[in-house]
């Protein structure tokens, strides 16, 4: 078990379960999960396909509601929160990076990065920050390109800039390099880690790639809907 941080955790999960009614039968995906993530930590959630890691990420981000249990994000239990309140919370506190980039195809790179600002509706479309972030990810000259005009790696870099635009305290990434070749994947990962350090966010990364997970501070491993290991990377013995 990782050491408990002195400050209040930014994410706390208690007795979390999630079942899905597929119409004919009930499938238990998560069977009782408990953990806490301190502010600023980089956590990798690992597990084989079907272990429940994406479901867990979705629940942490308020994209889905748990069957039972509590999810406390920055002091607020989001487990029973209304849909629109969850949307507001995501806009304010959580940045996302998806495996398949998920850019809006009809918006340009810059407009995609600015979308969370516009959705947040605080009236300050921070164009300079968007451009700065796009410069940082090496796309300063592709502001007006549509997703379809960008390569996979470039699209994922736009997604990274979008994830950080509102300076969210938490960043969630679901297999962010899963659709990229190893070289591009490595570049995107390095960018993600660099940006995350620069912005000081808590990073939750879902992956089945141990190499990727090795960059994290801590690895939580799931199997069949249960946590089977929760270790600090610094304490994991070197594996051959």
């Amino acid at each position: 078990m990782p050491p408990s941080p002195s400050a209040a955790p930014i994410i706390a999960v208690q007795g979390l379960t999630r079942s899905i009614n597929s119409g004919t039968h009930l499938v238990s995906i998560l069977k009782g999960i408990d953990f806490e993530i301190p502010r600023g930590q980089f956590v990798a959630i690992m597990g084989a396909s079907g272990s429940g890691k994406s479901t867990l990420l979705g629940l942490l981000a308020g994209l889905d509601t748990p069957t039972t249990g509590a999810i406390i994000i920055d002091g607020t239990d989001i487990a029973r929160m209304a849909e629109d309140d969850l949307a507001l919370l995501r806009g304010q506190k959580i940045g996302f990076v998806f495996q398949s980039y998920q850019l809006i195809p009809t918006l340009t790179a810059e407009e995609n990065v600015l979308l969370p600002v516009e959705l947040a509706g605080d009236g300050r479309a921070d164009v300079s920050r968007a451009r700065e972030l796009l410069e940082l990810v090496g796309l300063g000259d592709r502001l007006d390109h549509y997703p379809v005009q960008l390569s996979g790696g470039e699209q994922q870099r736009v997604a990274l800039a979008r994830a950080f635009i509102l300076k969210p305290p938490i960043l969630m990434a679901d297999e962010p390099t899963g659709n990229l070749d190893s070289k591009t994947g490595q570049q995107v990962l390095e960018l993600l880690i660099t940006l995350n350090r620069r912005e000081g966010a808590t990073l939750v990364l879902v992956t089945h790639d141990r190499q990727l997970a090795s960059h994290a501070d801590r690895i939580i491993t799931l199997r069949d809907g249960l946590i089977v290991a929760d270790e600090l990377v610094s304490e994991i013995p070197e594996r051959v």
Partner: protein, 862 residues
């Protein structure tokens, strides 16, 4: 957690616009669906009102006026004051006097011809006729050539008097110059006296002849023309009923009729076509809105990912709904504008398409009110029908991005409750639209709206139920192992998650139902209309044929060139009603024109039901025996008789007792057709009989018939109504043509919508094609599986929709058109096959490109 919602309209509009631009082809289709709906609505409405006005104008020409009051005594000063008062309200009037008199030729004073009994008609050429025109040979305008010293004569009279243009004739001791022959007289059939050949003169000319002494048997007709109706209001003008009532009060003894009752075939045709056209307008509206709903639903299905991403990025449902609401509004508005243009084009194009059928092409008016209504209806119905897909945005889980494959059954009580509320809202909204479109009295409009809502609810309920049941049955079929693999896969496709086979079936079924309903109702109406004015109606009548002349006249007519239909002899016997069920007719309360039943009437006899009659009550005799009579519905109403009533007649001093077997309605026109009593031959055997003859001949051959007949049978008169019959037939043909055209338009709209509901399933197939191809399925194999699915979907919806249509059409026919219940099995079969074919064509038109897609393109995009 609250925050001011500043997600600007500009941002929503930007996303909406970009998305629309990226999906221009698909949205083109949506716009087309709205345009077709609105186009048929405004086109049908605009055109039908123009057409209706034109038809009424034709109907008006048959009486040369909007209203007429026929009196048999001279008008009193009080009555004339009322007519003057109407004149001050903008209602024009003119008087027509008809009287019988003798005319003689002055052509050759050395060889005087015998005077001839003529039916003189005196008019004011400055005003008469209000509608139609009197055609003269040689051609001239009536008002230019007819004065107090001149007359125009019918071809028959010219022949009998042996006069031509320029000759003089004598009438009532005064001389008049013949200015030509009357070849067309619009209100010929509305005249009071059809005994002698026609002589047309001015009222001052008649006064000069001194024929209008007190007590003369002149018949007066007052003709009235109402102020021109506004184009925005559907004719008839609203005050026709009020004027009619005023006239009835002023002339209690008079027979007052208006243009809506000039001819039974036209009247029924007008009523039927108006009802049918309103029905089609409403159906076109629903079909269009249905198309929008299907297209928008499919669009949102494709945008699931974008919507989920936006939700992940913090968008609330209301912000996303705003984007798609803007899109819907823009689509509705664009479609509406295009639809109005289409509707306008329909109205403009139609008269050209059928120019040869129209003597007076319907005038096209840009009716702004109706266009604004069309636009509002477009936007409102689009919004209404896209409400469910728009609200479903709330149901889209952002988690979809992470867990696409996991289809989860959600919902339950809350969801079904809100679905019911939304459906209820849509139905009520559609009802309100229907009521608004129907217009008229608030009460009537509301009732129609309520019927419409109820009907739609029942149809949707039945369709959803039947779709559910059919899918259950098909699910059992899938389990049959011996079924060919392609068909099994095709069937199984209907049950894959996200296929929404039930929704597509309901949409398709509804489209088929409306389309087939229109077709079935149209077929039935057309056959009814055709029966009311069959081609080959008699257009020449011979009157006053004596018993002894019967065979000779028939023989002569049969040998005439240009005869289209051999003569039919109609016997006529003069008889008077004495008692009805024992009550003397003198003691019955009869007013005005009803008093004709106290005088001698022309009765006839038949062995079986005559053509162009309709049974109102009772039944025609199957075996002709003495003592039976059939009575026309008007006479039956006046004399208060029904089948079984005993009526006593007197004819040539003999008493004839007869029991009423049947009350009938006459749909025919022409002399003899207004006979109110038809006996069995045995009932009137031995009574003195004269004959009418009805025949059909080419108009150009009538003159030669008149000549031959006059030489051998000078007492037999010829009445030539070829021009009038032609007008009646033209009007009825026009009604039929319009019904066909507008039905075809609505059916085409239905087909487009049907295609769109199948095409809307396109995007769901993309992944499936890829997976099948990745697994080694050939293009041929995939296309077979899809063809099987399209065919099953189309045939099932076709069967369901056409069966419902059969019931619906029959209900409509029985309830609104007084038709008969029929089951049209061949139509259903054709509908099933056609829907399957359309589903295949549309499905393939939308999916063909998918087949050629490389699997990796799609998989990489995942």
């Amino acid at each position: 957690m609250t925050r001011q919602d500043n997600f600007s309209l500009a941002t929503a509009a930007k996303i909406a616009w970009r998305e629309s631009r990226a999906s221009s082809v698909k949205f083109g289709f949506v716009i087309l669906a709205v345009a077709v709906g609105v186009g048929s609505l405004t086109g049908v409405r605009g055109f039908s009102s123009a057409f209706y006005a034109m038809l009424l104008k034709e109907a008006r020409t048959l009486m040369a006026a909007d209203l007429s009051a026929r009196v048999f005594v001279m008008a009193t000063p009080e009555q004339m004051a009322v007519i003057d008062d109407l004149g001050r309200q903008g209602i024009r009037s003119t008087q027509v006097t008809e009287t019988l008199t003798m005319a003689a030729s002055l052509k050759d004073p050395s060889k005087p011809t015998a005077p001839v009994l003529v039916s003189a008609k005196a008019i004011d050429p400055a005003l008469y006729p209000f509608y139609g025109e009197v055609q003269l040979t040689p051609a001239a305008r009536l008002r230019d050539v007819l004065n107090e010293n001149s007359v125009a004569v019918s071809d028959d009279l010219a022949l009998r008097l042996n006069v031509t243009t320029g000759d003089m004739i004598r009438l009532g001791g005064q001389d008049y110059k013949v200015i030509g022959q009357v070849t067309k007289e619009p209100d010929k059939m509305s005249g009071s006296i059809n005994i002698g050949p026609r002589l047309l003169m001015t009222r001052s000319g008649l006064e000069r002849a001194g024929l209008l002494n007190a007590g003369s048997r002149a018949a007066q007709r007052f003709l009235f023309q109402l102020p021109i109706a506004q184009p925005s209001t559907a004719t008839p003008p609203p005050d026709v009923e009020a004027v009619r009532q005023t006239l009835k009060n002023t002339f209690p003894e008079a027979q007052v009729i208006d243009f809506r009752e000039t001819n039974p075939a036209i009247t029924r045709g007008l009523e039927t076509s108006t009802r049918f056209l309103s029905l089609v307008s409403l159906i076109a509206l629903i079909v269009g809105a249905l198309g929008v709903a299907t297209a928008m639903h499919s669009h949102l299905q494709q945008k699931l990912d974008s919507i989920a991403v936006m939700k992940c990025l913090g968008a609330r449902s209301s912000q996303i709904i705003r984007i798609y609401l803007l899109q819907t509004l823009a689509l509705g508005l664009t479609g509406g504008l295009l639809g109005i243009a289409v509707g306008g084009a329909v109205q403009l194009a139609f008269p050209h398409l059928i120019a040869r059928y129209f003597q007076v092409p319907p005038s096209f008016v840009w009716d702004w009110a109706s266009m604004a209504q069309g636009l509002l209806v477009a936007v409102f119905s689009t919004l209404l029908f896209t409400l469910p897909p728009l609200l479903s945005v709330r149901e889209i889980r952002p988690n979809l991005i992470l867990r696409r494959e996991m289809g989860e059954t959600r919902g339950g009580w809350f969801r079904s409750r809100s679905a019911i509320a939304v459906s209820g809202g849509i139905l009520v909204g559609m009802g309100a639209l229907a009521a608004w479109i129907a217009g008229g009295k608030l009460e009537d409009a509301l009732r129609l709206g309520a019927y419409f809502t109820g009907g739609l609810a029942v149809a949707l309920g039945v369709l959803a139920g039947v779709a559910w049941l059919l899918l259950r049955v098909l699910k059992m079929v899938v389990k049959i192992r011996t079924l060919p693999a392609n068909w099994r896969h095709g069937l199984a496709n209907l049950y894959r998650p996200g296929n929404q086979a039930r929704a597509v079936l309901v949409a398709l079924g509804l489209g088929v139902m409306f389309t087939v309903t229109i077709y079935l109702v149209q077929q039935s109406i057309l056959s009814e209309i055709a029966a009311s004015a069959p081609p080959g109606m008699p257009n020449v009548f011979l009157i006053d044929i004596q018993q002894a002349q019967k065979d000779g006249v028939t023989d002569l007519v049969k040998r005439q060139p240009g005869l289209d239909k051999p003569p039919e002899l109609i016997p006529s016997i003069a008889a008077r009603v004495v008692k009805v069920n024992g009550q003397p007719v003198e003691t019955m309360e009869l007013k005005g024109f009803q008093r004709r039943f106290r005088q001698s009437r022309n009765v006839s006899y038949v062995t079986e039901a005559p053509k162009q009659t309709q049974v109102v009550s009772g039944a025609w005799w199957t075996k002709s025996t003495a003592g039976l009579v059939a009575i026309g519905d008007d006479a039956a109403k006046v004399l208060k008789v029904s089948p079984g009533t005993e009526i006593e007649f007197v004819s040539s001093g003999k008493t004839v007792l007869a029991r009423v077997a049947v009350v009938y309605r006459n749909l025919a026109v022409g002399p003899g057709s207004n006979t109110e009593f038809l006996f069995t031959p045995e009932s009137v055997a031995g009574l003195p009989t004269i004959y009418y003859s009805a025949l059909r001949m080419q108009p150009s051959a009538v003159a030669s018939l008149q000549q031959s007949l006059y030489q051998r049978f000078p007492t037999v008169s010829v009445i030539n109504v070829a021009d009038v019959i032609q007008t009646v037939q033209e009007v009825v043909d026009q009604i039929a043509l319009v019904i066909r055209f507008i039905s075809t338009f609505a059916i085409m709209a239905g087909v487009i919508i049907l295609a769109s509901s199948v095409a809307g399933t396109r995007f769901r197939r993309i992944r499936e094609v890829v997976i099948l191809k990745t697994l080694g399925a050939t293009r041929k194999r995939v296309s077979r599986i899809f063809s099987a699915e399209f065919s099953i979907l189309g045939a099932t919806a076709g069967l369901m929709g056409s069966l419902l249509a059969s019931g619906f059409a029959n209900l409509v026919l029985v309830q609104f058109f007084k038709g008969e219940w029929k089951f049209n099995a061949p139509s259903i079969l054709v509908a099933v096959v056609l829907t399957a074919v359309i589903a295949n064509i549309a499905g393939w038109a939308a999916s063909a490109r998918i087949l050629g897609q490389k699997p990796l393109e799609v998989l990489r995009a995942e």
